[in-house]
């Protein structure tokens, strides 16, 4: 897990970026905090000896998804959110309960109370070749199903858009 100081610095940045993303009232700032968070997570992967996943994390999340977020925010001009509005106490109580439950589950699992499935394997091969073999030989069926689902989602969007356009034209 690298040097503890490296971990501490990365963890601090990641947590502050996450908090910043949630509390910022400006959508563009939120998106940028999210990018910072993704990049710290990518460095985590690098420290954990998984350079492939690290680079893919940056390319896909920071490079593609948040860029699309930004694009939509800029096009819609939705960068300024109205002042904080909440449904009163209920929302806070629910949020506190959910967080506490998640934290308990994580702590129990990681400290070894469960069946221990969350413990990382000691010598996991994370080289591009190993990941390729896993994806395209051992797990090729789930992989293809996933890509098929994404393809269907993409095509349905195009179909909806085409129908709408036809109605407007006709």
């Amino acid at each position: 897990m690298g040097h503890p100081i490296v971990f501490l610095i990365l963890a601090t940045v990641a947590v502050f970026a996450a908090i910043g993303m949630l509390t910022s009232r400006n959508a563009v700032h939120s998106a940028l905090y999210l990018v910072l968070n993704f990049c710290t997570v990518a460095v985590f992967y690098l420290v954990l000896n998984a350079p492939f996943i690290s680079m893919v994390q940056i390319t896909v999340y920071a490079g593609a998804i948040v860029v699309l977020f930004l694009f939509v925010i800029m096009l819609l001009g939705a960068d300024q959110l109205p002042k904080a509005s909440s449904n009163g106490g209920l929302q806070y109580i629910l949020a506190i309960f959910a967080t506490a439950g998640l934290a308990t589950a994580l702590i129990l699992q990681l400290s070894g109370f469960g069946d221990g499935t969350a413990k990382p394997e000691s010598a996991l091969d994370a080289s591009p070749e190993a990941i390729g073999t896993l994806l395209f030989q051992d797990y090729v069926f789930p992989f293809e199903i996933t890509s098929l689902i994404l393809l269907v989602a993409m095509m349905s969007l195009i179909v909806f858009k085409a129908q709408k356009r036809k109605k407007q034209d006709g």
Binding site: V35, P51, M55, V56, I58, G63, V67, F71, M74
Partner: protein, 361 residues
């Protein structure tokens, strides 16, 4: 020398500092190269007043030798001493970091470029680069190229100006569109070399440079790079007539200069990537005997790449926005996918012994 973690870190710092210095100087002179070469292509002289050596001629005016060698320095001094002011309603933090966000990816890419075979006998790495230990160099380049869009997009948004934001949005759309084709043309080289390490790709080109096996990929890559760098004929995010120069319209002084710095540094780093992926990287005659020659060869190839970019800028008119999008999505992307599939099938047929193709390995 003993290669502990400390010496490795020191080495990376030293080499990084050296190469960044070389490239920053190189960037300054790339601007001069562009101005001189553009001028020559258009039948002008170009900058010639700053720093020339006067050669006296009989009966005529003196001849100016090396005219303009100090022009980049003069430009830099001018930019630094201009007043640095921002418009009233900008988003201050993002307005200030956006120029840096454009420069950082341009420099970061250089970390994985292999400049030469290993120079020191005792070095633990098989080649000379700032970060030679990274096995996924190709992915690193794609990752850095994919975050390069932030600087331009945020500069446009933070300036709080209609022209700037239109320029920024154009830039974002254009870079997202052409990145796909660009990434797909990087893959054939990876498949041919059987590795994502850039040095392995260079070594695999020992007999045959990949642009001879992959002419289509090379062509698409070069077009994609023009779009990614937003240079002519794809420079319509700074179309002067429509956008009064686009995302950088509200910037002044050295902040404005940094956008140009990023553009020229990216020209250098993408020329280096093209050289590594398709034109044999540091390979050339006698490079195995004298590793230092590798740096010279790579610089020579980068220089040729820069000249090509400037030549294209001088000779091609700017595309319209819909033409650009149609070209990227309907021609370049399918062509890149097709090329990728054909290459994959060819490699399999070759390794099964059915077809005998001139492939490495």
């Amino acid at each position: 020398m003993d290669w502990t973690l400390g010496t490795i870190a020191l080495r990376a710092l030293g080499v990084g500092f050296l190469m960044s210095f070389v490239v920053i100087t190189g960037f300054a002179y790339t601007t001069l190269l562009e101005r001189k070469l553009l001028a020559r292509l258009q039948g002008r002289v170009g900058p010639e007043r700053a720093g020339y050596i006067p050669l006296p001629r009989k009966g005529k005016k003196e001849r100016k030798l090396l005219g303009g060698v100090l022009q980049p320095a003069a430009d830099a001094v001018k930019l630094f001493f201009k007043e640095d002011r921002a418009p009233d309603m900008v988003d201050t933090v993002i307005y200030n970091i956006a120029p840096m966000l454009t420069v950082i990816p341009a420099v970061l890419i250089l970390a994985v470029i292999p400049w030469a075979p290993t120079l020191l006998k005792s070095s633990p790495y098989p080649y000379f680069a700032i970060a030679p230990g990274l096995q996924v160099g190709v992915l690193f380049i794609l990752a850095v190229a994919s975050i390069a869009v932030y600087g331009v997009a945020l500069a446009g948004w933070a300036s709080n100006s209609k022209y700037a934001i239109l320029g920024g949005i154009r830039a974002t759309a254009q870079m997202i569109s052409y990145e796909l084709a660009l990434s797909l043309t990087v893959l054939p080289s990876v498949m041919l070399a059987g590795s994502m390490n850039l040095n392995d790709i260079v070594v695999a080109q020992e007999g045959l440079w990949f642009f001879l096996i992959q002419p289509v990929a090379t062509l698409i890559f070069i077009i994609g790079v023009f779009a990614e760098l937003q240079r002519a004929p794809f420079d319509l995010l700074e179309a002067e007539q429509e956008l009064s120069s686009g995302y950088n319209v509200e910037y002044g002084s050295m902040r404005f200069g940094m956008f140009f710095m990023a553009e020229y540094m990216k020209m250098i780093s993408f020329s280096a990537i093209a050289a590594v992926l398709f034109f044999g990287g540091y390979r050339g005659p006698f490079v195995d005997q004298v590793p230092l020659l590798g740096i010279l060869y790579l610089f020579g190839k980068i220089f040729l790449g820069l000249c090509l970019m400037i030549w294209v800028r001088a000779s091609m008119p700017r595309l319209r926005y819909d033409q650009l999008m149609n070209f990227g999505w309907k021609i370049l992307l399918p062509l890149a996918v097709l090329n990728f599939v054909v290459t994959a099938i060819g490699i399999v047929l070759h390794s099964e012994g059915i077809l005998n193709l001139p492939l490495p390995g």
